[in-house]
Amino acid sequence: MAKTDILDVVARKLAPFMLLFGLYLVSYGDTSPGGGFQGGVVIASGVILLAMARGVSAAERLFPMHRLSAAETAAYGVFLAAGVVGLVLGVGFLGDFTRPGWTNSPLPAARFIFLLNLAIGIKVACGVSLICMYLFRED
């Protein structure tokens, strides 16, 4: 199937906004609908759009597979480390070791939840894009 210029241009213009919207969903998961899983899938859909419209090798220049794999593992490590920090500080595994309710600041009030959302978002984004790039790759 021949690729058209329209697909090429639209994919390249649209993908950054999809990545941005995914990051927005991840970072505002504690105040508005969204969160790590949903935002991560939106980020991954931006990567998948690039991989489908421009080819996996072009998407791999921006998001190399070994980096995605490493980022997924690192995000999982951050999640586990956040849990263990709570264990050390005496609030239990995955307990909230920051003080919630600090609302009068530009930072998110739920800092612990923001941290977990960020880790989950990175993990889901890398995982779903890895699955699709492995399936789309042809060689």
Partner: protein, 82 residues
């Protein structure tokens, strides 16, 4: 074959009627606690997030393991076929 389908449909309809027509306890102690104290205890305005990352973060840890297993399985089978 057709009888099997009809039986399956009737079973599903009966199941749905029992589930949807049954009485739901709309006010449980747990729900009241989350609605009243969820924002103060976790800091998240979104109560869904307050539950799945505040009260049940361990559950979410298991969900991420499920995704990691899915990725590992896909990579295993794709690499095996190549």
């Amino acid at each position: 074959m057709r009888i099997v389908e009809i039986v399956a449909m009737v079973t599903v309809a009966l199941f749905l009627a029992l589930i949807l027509g049954g009485s739901h306890p709309t006010e449980t102690p747990l729900r009241g606690h989350v609605v009243e104290n969820g924002v103060a205890e976790t800091g998240a305005v979104n109560l869904v997030t307050a539950i799945y990352l505040g009260y049940r973060a361990f559950d979410t840890l298991g969900e991420t393991v499920v995704l990691m297993l899915a990725v590992s399985g896909v990579i295993f089978f794709v690499e095996q076929r190549r």
